[in-house]
Symmetry: C2
Subunit: 332 residues, 2 copies
């Protein structure tokens, strides 16, 4: 762990960071207790190493008012969600932290506590890190490292005409949670809590991702918006994806909050930060998908189909295209 | 490659980034042309995977006025320098880029061109990346991934009393280059150019690092300041390191600029951004070290010795300790 200061901070604060983070590397001998320049991974035989880097920026992906326990966890979970969608199993992560003056030692402790909780939950460890002072916002860059059995990564490019399109979980909750976090809207207490937690603490579908590894023809982490992300599958697979708007799964809380008509579902499909898995599979695999869903306690919904052509289309009950004003994620 | 926007930017700019960066992934099939969620590395048999993450922040590690060609290269080279000091061979890197509004398309092109030049020079490729908009400074996080033969990483913790302490290259140039870059001081044209290039474009000692892998007892990337970094070797090895101030190697340009007396050498040893390799080895290995230095065209200087005790001491010609006001790197 190297720490560098752009300007004088509270005395001893970088020492505190080292003290808080070193225990997070326990359980991974190749981290050397964060006392060396690098980390070393002895790769798992018969497996590929899967790599993902992802940043979480104050004022872009989280709010200064968010509880610090959830901020590190969200940074970590976003990268884990990418691994999940590819059927990978996470092993370790690297952390690059750019800190302005405002986070105090209490914030830092809570941030590290959050990471510790998630390490426990997902069976991973901190392999290495770097802390720098910045004149800008808190910027957290996580590089997640995991494994898939050799050659078994689920790519974006395998969708074929005739495949069914699925998505895990529910869509649009986090976008509503963000509005609530910013105090722009109100909701009942139970809905508020649920939607806010979906914004602050996404749940990467690691178990389901591993289970569907040999069944899905293509998959993607739904983070930029369901339609935008299915568009990436369509583009790399050279196909068109048609989504039945009425089948886009909404949570009960979001239904209460925003309604559950086709327009509300279309808005949800154009929002972001869902961290669900969008995937395609041959219709003959549907029983196996249902079994994976049951075994991993994952809600999975068939929402459309893959056809010849290009692009992604959202269709109403009459099969007419719904034009969505803005596809994909817009941060605040 | 995923790009996310915090606010409207110039139209098409994120498409430009994708267009500029995709070619950088050629030569690494596991990058999938940056069209998937993750990158995949098929590990090299008999080798460990070496991991390092490192950030370069505008106003902290580089100036907005620095040529954009050198900025990406510096970010990359800082991480490669860590790999070099450990005897590792780099293979690929991941890039997380946080961009405010000011870098225009010309800047982005030049930034990518710089990376392309370094990829060619160091035989590496871009494996994956992420671009986010930020309300703060340009923040570039590189995660470098390389290999060492299984178990052959050169650690910080192997220095033993009786070992000799060495450093590659010259010390203090980059700190002087930074002062020049900020226009705080003046130097002759030739000195100016040399010292500025040492600040903007460090040269990771990859060849020497690999050559000394079985000879060095401990090694570290000298980036936070020679004394601070040798202090890390002393601490993790449980020894004391004594450095003879008169033997700290200064470049001719720095000698002209700052003088070359013991005080100037002490200041250089407390500066930072050198990206040289500090290492220790048994005196019996000195002929082999000299051979490695010749073969890799690397200047190597014996600057001190490892003794029982703790900490690092800078000594004058009489063997008395020189007290250095500030050890280690202070960014501007």
């Amino acid at each position: 762990m190297t720490t560098r200061e752009a300007r004088p901070r509270r005395p001893g604060e970088f020492a505190l960071i080292a003290e808080l983070f070193a225990p997070l590397s326990r359980g991974f001998p190749g981290a050397f207790g964060l006392t060396d320049d690098v980390a070393v991974l002895a790769p798992r035989p018969g497996h590929d190493v899967v790599l993902k880097t992802d940043s979480l920026i104050e004022g872009v992906h989280f709010l200064r008012s968010d509880p610090p326990q959830t901020i590190g966890r969200k940074a970590l979970r976003r990268a884990l969600s990418d691994l999940a969608a590819k059927g990978a199993e996470p092993e370790v992560y690297l952390l690059a932290l750019a800190l302005p003056e405002w986070p105090d030692s209490g914030w830092l402790r809570a941030f590290a506590d959050g990471l510790a909780a998630d390490q426990e939950e997902f069976g991973i460890a901190l392999a290495g890190g770097e802390t720098d002072a910045t004149p800008g916002p808190v910027t957290i860059t996580v590089t997640a490292i995991g494994y898939t059995p050799e050659g078994e990564l689920v790519r974006r490019n395998g969708a074929r005409p005739g495949d069914t399109v699925f998505v895990t979980g529910t869509i649009g909750d986090a976008a509503a949670g963000l509005l609530l976090a910013k105090g722009k809207v109100q909701a009942s207490s139970a809905e508020h809590e649920f939607l806010l937690s979906r914004f602050r603490l996404p749940v990467p579908g690691l178990s389901f991702g591993r289970a569907m590894r040999k069944i899905a023809s293509a998959a993607i982490d739904v983070s930029d918006g369901l339609l935008a992300d299915l568009g990436h599958i369509a583009e790399t697979s050279g196909v068109r994806i048609e989504v039945d708007a009425a089948r886009i799964p909404l949570s009960e809380a979001l239904g209460e909050f925003s309604g559950a008509d086709v327009d509300a579902r279309a808005r949800a499909a154009a929002a972001g930060d869902d961290y669900e898995i969008g995937f395609t599979a041959a219709p003959t695999n549907e029983p196996e998908i249902a079994a994976c869903a049951r075994e991993t306690l994952t809600e999975v919904t068939a929402i459309g189909s893959v056809v010849a052509g290009q692009g992604v289309r959202l269709l109403n009950a009459s099969g007419q295209q719904i034009v969505v004003a803005k596809r994909g994620y817009t941060h605040f």
